[in-house]
């Protein structure tokens, strides 16, 4: 779906490049996560991929077509949900959807069904200016998907949502992927990235030092050990054992046979741990 080769982008010729020869590919029906601290170049990459910034060097191809040569019809197949919901505040939820829907000629989802699915049906005739952040985010999301885009860009889609609505949107994102939509997800949220993404890329200072699946990264950067938390004489204690030869480890076997085990966890790394280890920076 997306093939990026040696993408170099500079806002001003005098400045250092914002994107420094980055290369990656995103397959059809894949959720590709883009992680990085503020100012790393994530938004710039998204602007290049959506055709907003065209003065780049290198190659950016969508379904084989160089993106700097695309015309307006390209946007029939693109959906974008920005981090900050940019809606007409003086229009109702329904009026917003009706207006934006009129820009597309392709087949679209039933608007009423989308509003019901994200719990905005009862508020469809309320002006967006009275909506909470969460309600605006949900409306922002369904506006991005209503024209059934084949490529969807999501920027912090669960920001400002309560756990129930966050779950709802994540389920919808997975459904879209399962039905063939390619999703480019930009986020700071490690839990979202871990749960949703088939592969993730870390972006630091305009470069992509790591691209892999969350599972591979967790295994690669994690400790191959298991941590046992157990109760002994009414006190909680913890012991850690190497995974190798665990079944024959007498100390481990004795511990689990003679004590009340509370928890046992393998010590694979979290995405956040890996990010800090690889980049030396925290996500903010």
């Amino acid at each position: 779906m997306i093939t990026v080769n040696n993408l170099l982008f500079t806002y001003n010729q005098k400045d250092k490049p914002t994107l420094k020869n980055i290369s990656f590919e995103v397959a059809n029906a894949e959720i590709f996560g883009f992680l990085g601290p503020s100012g790393a170049g994530k938004s710039t990459t998204q602007k290049v991929l959506t055709g907003v910034l065209k003065k780049y060097a290198g190659s950016v191809r969508l379904n084989g077509n160089e993106i700097k040569n695309i015309d307006k019809n390209f946007y029939e197949n693109i959906g974008v949900a920005f981090e900050f919901p940019n809606l007409y505040l003086k229009f109702t939820a329904l009026e917003n959807l009706q207006l934006f829907s009129s820009f597309y000629t392709c087949e679209q989802f039933e608007m009423n069904e989308l509003l019901k699915r994200v719990g905005l049906w009862d508020d469809r005739d309320a002006k967006v200016e009275v909506f909470s952040k969460g309600m605006r985010m949900r409306l922002n999301f369904i506006r991005a998907i209503m024209h059934k885009p084949t490529l969807l860009f999501l920027d912090e889609p669960t920001s400002g949502l309560d756990p129930t609505n966050s779950r709802l949107l994540k389920d919808m994102i997975k459904e879209l992927r399962d039905s063939g939509t390619t999703i480019f997800l930009t986020t700071h949220n490690m839990t979202d990235a871990d749960e949703l993404c088939d592969r993730i890329a870390f972006m630091i200072d305009g470069e992509l030092p790591v691209i892999d699946s969350p599972e591979n990264l967790k295994l690669q950067y994690g400790k191959k050990s298991v941590k046992v938390r157990y109760r002994k004489n009414n006190n909680i204690s913890t012991n850690e054992f190497e995974l190798a030869g665990l079944g024959k480890n007498k100390q481990f076997l004795s511990l689990i046979n003679n004590n009340e085990v509370e928890t046992i966890h393998t010590q694979e790394a979290t995405i956040e741990d890996i990010f800090i280890k690889v980049t030396g920076k925290h996500l903010q």
């Binding site: 907003v52 029939e76 809606l87 007409y88 003086k90 229009f91 009129s102 820009f103 597309y104």
Partner: protein
């Protein structure tokens, strides 16, 4: 076409929901009424009460009011644009099939259309048609109508939001003030006011011998203004 049609309809909806924008659109109708009834009344009143004939200034008063309409129409659409930019809506519209160019076309063409209709009507209602033939009246109306996108681009280029827009839109009135000396005085030094695009149009009306030349000059000055403002606006747009 349907996507443009929907954006135009939504603009009217936005205007209906904002009392200030409604008033700005209705103002040209109010001062047209003043031109029809107010100016003759004033001429007679001053003549009777002060024994002074100000009738020779009436055409200037009428012409002076004419560019206010395109400025107001441009301001209305400029305020909509500022609200859209402030709320990030333009960034979204730019990545729909409407595109940045389609969006800007609607924003610039609609106030030109309203202004064109108003200007032609105003020339005939106010009696300024005695100075121009039909083609000149239409051309002058069209050139003056481009002051609407000029105002829109001016607001887009220099204001960050509607509050700033209200403040800086008043500075556009300088272009109108620059018309006054040309009507009161005579001399080649008055060409210093040719920096005002409206000055050329005023000359086209009140110097009938050279109407075509002034109309031509006016078209060039308007074009240059719009081009410069568009470049400046475009830098902020991205």
């Amino acid at each position: 076409m349907i996507r443009y049609h929907q954006l135009i309809r939504s603009d009217l909806k936005l205007i209906r929901r904002d009392p200030m924008l409604i008033l700005s659109l209705l103002a040209p109708l109010l001062y047209t009424a003043m031109v029809i009834w107010g100016i003759p009344f004033m001429v007679e009143f001053v003549s009777v009460e002060f024994n002074t004939n100000i009738e020779k200034y009436a055409p200037f008063f009428k012409f002076f009011l004419m560019p206010v309409a395109p400025m107001l129409f441009g301001m209305v659409y400029g305020f909509i644009l500022l609200d859209e930019r402030d709320g990030g809506v333009i960034s979204y519209l730019a990545i729909t099939p409407l595109g940045k160019s389609g969006y800007l076309a609607v924003r610039m063409i609609m106030p030109v259309l309203y202004s064109l209709i108003f200007n032609i009507s105003f020339i005939y209602i106010s009696g300024l048609d005695v100075y121009l033939n039909t083609f000149q009246a239409i051309l002058l109306s069209l050139i003056m109508a481009t002051e609407a996108p000029m105002m829109l681009l001016f607001l887009g280029a220099f204001a960050s939001n509607k509050v700033e827009g209200i403040a800086i839109s008043k500075s556009f009135g300088v272009l109108l003030i620059m018309l006054i000396p040309d009507f009161v005085f005579q001399g080649t030094w008055l060409w210093v006011f040719s920096a005002s695009p409206i000055w050329w149009l005023q000359r086209a009306v009140f110097h009938p011998v050279h109407s075509w030349g002034y109309l031509f000059g006016s078209a060039i000055v308007h074009f240059v203004f719009i081009l410069l403002l568009y470049r400046r606006f475009n830098r902020r747009f991205d």
